[in-house]
């Protein structure tokens, strides 16, 4: 049974999905989803420790067809680190989804909702696990198509979910198409789709214009998918108008998986040595990353809708991950992995807490939470801690990732960039302070609806908050895992970390 773990974590949600679609009755589909995502979470944790114990790449051959002819699932230090993030967030979000979905989705649609929910989780797990470039595309489409449906399901409460889902559909499809065009060029050049095999054969054709074009298409397609500035316009409305549970799931995972796939393709297939990669992609990613960090943060400061505010802040945080990638060093990649992991936790906490408010009040704006610090102190404290982690205050996970990001930049003597990163992080204080001021320093207006909180409402968000603090205080194992993940792509050099 143990040797089947790499496939089981993808297969379980994938096969549970049709059952969920067929099931009727209150909470039956939710129960199935809860059990499935829980099992997937346990499996990915088991895989993480198994991979660390073995210390080398684990390969699972589908149908016992060996690579490069067959499709293989690859568990290395990088995928083993990202898998628990996705399945863990999926599990906690499912825990919270019971109440959020009951409040926001028509009861007849619950089966289909959870079917799409499971499919999007299965698709993301598949993208991370698979060692085949075309398989990545298939899983990308599985997760994206079900995500479009999930966003559109917000239409019952908020009609703006429909144009948001449509924009997301069009731009997401453009991104996926670009990716597959690049892949087609690579296949034409090398005759293989297996990632490891591609990496081996590409150096023979690396001077061709087709290879460079392929890289451009793949990078651009994934930039769209990961919502890198200025290709982020689909993200804010999609997050803001989707059902709250969907926002929590997607904000923490969907773009992160694309970041992972970008790292896997750019560093794992093309490699740092690829001609033009450091100049073209590296410089581009650095510039867009820092620009995104500023644009996202500034847009978040003027935003009053809480979901939109934190969606804008996601743009900024994705910018930091991009800066980590653009540094083109092991430390930079480790910082990207760290931030991928930590940001998933913080955004999960924030969107779960905000979702609980939105599910009660219909919307979550600055007005909704005005003076709410006394009415729902536990939920608001979760938002406070999430916000502090976003700024990168010490003792939170956000501090660790920012620390390594700035270290990576200083290693390369990017003094200006390091300074800008620091300033944009500090600017995040402005929007977090805005929330603190509204929630605690202002009185609750007369006639405002009474917000309530029960244990089942704030526990999911608090699990994430505790994890954020836990990984912020005791970060050593996570940092080690992130460096192990980075060294998959950039082998460690003596002397460097």
């Amino acid at each position: 049974m143990m040797q089947h773990l790499p496939i089981l974590q993808v297969l379980l949600p994938l096969l549970a999905s049709p059952f969920a679609a067929l099931l009727r009755g209150r909470d039956v589909a939710w129960g199935l989803t809860f059990v499935t995502t829980g099992l997937a979470f346990l499996i990915s944790i088991a895989l993480f420790f198994q991979q660390r114990a073995i210390g080398e790449t684990m390969i699972y051959e589908l149908g016992n067809w060996a690579a490069p002819l067959g499709i293989v699932y690859v568990i290395d230090a990088a995928s083993a680190l990202v898998l628990p993030v996705i399945s863990g967030i999926g599990f906690i979000a499912t825990l919270a989804a019971r109440q959020l979905v009951a409040a926001e989705i028509d009861a007849r649609d619950h089966g289909l909702f959870y079917a799409a929910w499971l499919l999007t989780i299965a698709g993301m797990m598949g993208q991370v696990t698979t060692g085949d470039a075309f398989n990545i595309f298939v899983f990308l489409e599985i997760s994206s198509l079900s995500a479009y449906a999930l966003v559109a399901m917000g239409a019952g409460r908020d009609r703006r979910a429909l144009p948001a889902a449509f924009n997301y559909l069009i731009l997401g499809t453009v991104g996926a198409t670009f990716y597959v065009i690049g892949l087609g060029l690579l296949y034409m050049l090398t005759g293989t789709l297996n990632l490891a095999d591609l990496a081996e054969r590409l150096p023979h054709v690396e001077e061709t214009r087709a290879a460079f074009t392929a890289m451009a298409f793949i990078a651009l397609g994934l930039f769209l998918k990961m919502a890198l500035f200025p290709l982020h316009f689909w993200l804010v409305p999609a997050y803001a108008h989707a059902p709250s549970a969907v926002t929590a799931l997607m904000a923490s995972t969907a773009t992160k998986v694309s970041v992972y796939v970008l790292i896997r393709l750019i560093f794992g297939v093309f490699g740092v040595e690829f001609p033009g990669l450091a100049d073209a992609v590296g410089l581009l990613v650095l510039t867009l990353g820092i620009a995104g960090a500023f644009v996202g943060t500034l847009a978040a400061i003027v935003e009053t809708d809480l979901k939109k505010l934190f969606a804008q802040s996601s743009i900024a945080q994705l910018g930091y991950m991009a800066i980590g990638i653009g540094a083109m060093s092991a430390t930079g990649l480790a910082a990207a992995f760290l931030h991928l992991f930590n940001h998933a936790l913080m955004k999960g906490a924030l969107f779960l807490a905000i979702g609980m408010i939105a599910a009660q009040a219909g919307r979550a704006t600055m007005g909704t939470i005005q003076g709410a610090g006394k009415q729902i102190p536990i939920t608001m404290t979760a938002i406070l801690f999430g916000g502090l982690a976003l700024i990168g205050v010490p003792l939170t996970a956000g501090f660790i990732s920012k620390l390594y990001l700035i270290r990576a930049l200083l290693e390369q003597n990017f003094w200006l960039l390091a300074g800008l990163t620091f300033i944009s992080s500090a600017l995040a204080l402005a929007y977090v302070w805005k929330i603190i001021e509204a929630a605690w320093l202002q009185p609750r207006p007369n006639g405002a609806p009474v917000l309530r909180e029960t244990a089942s409402q704030y526990i999911p968000a608090w699990i994430m908050v505790v994890a954020t603090l836990g990984f912020g205080i005791y970060a050593t194992p996570l940092v080690e895992a992130a460096f192990a993940a980075a060294h998959v792509f950039i082998p460690s050099v003596a002397g460097a970390n």
Binding site: L11, L15, S17, P18, Y60, G63, N64
Partner: protein, 161 residues
């Protein structure tokens, strides 16, 4: 269109033939061109033809809406569980060699089942797409209402003349 004798008779002859051809494409897919995807589309086209010629209501009567979800999910499950079969019998997921005592027969059986799953899902999705778009009744009712309204206006105009 149900008023046209030629269309009705030809459709009645064609529908079973289309379905039979779909089954041929489905099960001959192991040896020749074809397979579940094409067969599913051809099979669904028989139902689409039926609905186009004899009307949406009769079409729905032949393929009730509750079959859609069952077909879609059932096909996926057939595919997935065939793969799990290889796992239960001690090999990796999607290994069909062990499904039968002879590896070649096992592969054959595996492909047959998987393709059947694909065909079922594709056929159900196609039929569902057709009925979803054809059956947007609120939209159609609006159209026919305004048509009726216009006819009433023109009729009253004639009367006035």
């Amino acid at each position: 269109m149900q008023d046209d004798v030629v269309i009705r008779v030809v459709a009645k002859v064609m529908i079973p033939a289309v379905m039979l051809f779909a089954l041929y494409v489905q099960f001959h897919g192991d040896y020749g061109p074809g397979g579940g995807f094409q067969a599913g589309v051809i099979f669904a086209s028989a139902f689409v033809l039926n609905a186009v010629v004899f009307g949406l209501n009769k079409g729905r009567h032949v393929w009730p809406a509750r079959y859609n979800l069952m077909g879609i999910c059932g096909g996926v499950l057939i595919y997935g569980l065939t793969g799990v079969g290889g796992m239960v019998l001690g090999e990796n997921f999607l290994n069909f060699n062990v499904l039968s005592s002879d590896p070649i027969a096992g592969q054959h059986l595996g492909i047959l089942l998987v393709e059947f799953g694909v065909g079922l899902t594709v056929a159900a999705v196609m039929v569902m797409l057709f009925f979803t778009f054809a059956g947007r009744t609120a939209h159609l009712r609006l159209l026919s209402k305004s048509d009726a309204h216009e006819r009433k206006i023109s009729a009253s105009k004639k009367r006035r003349k």
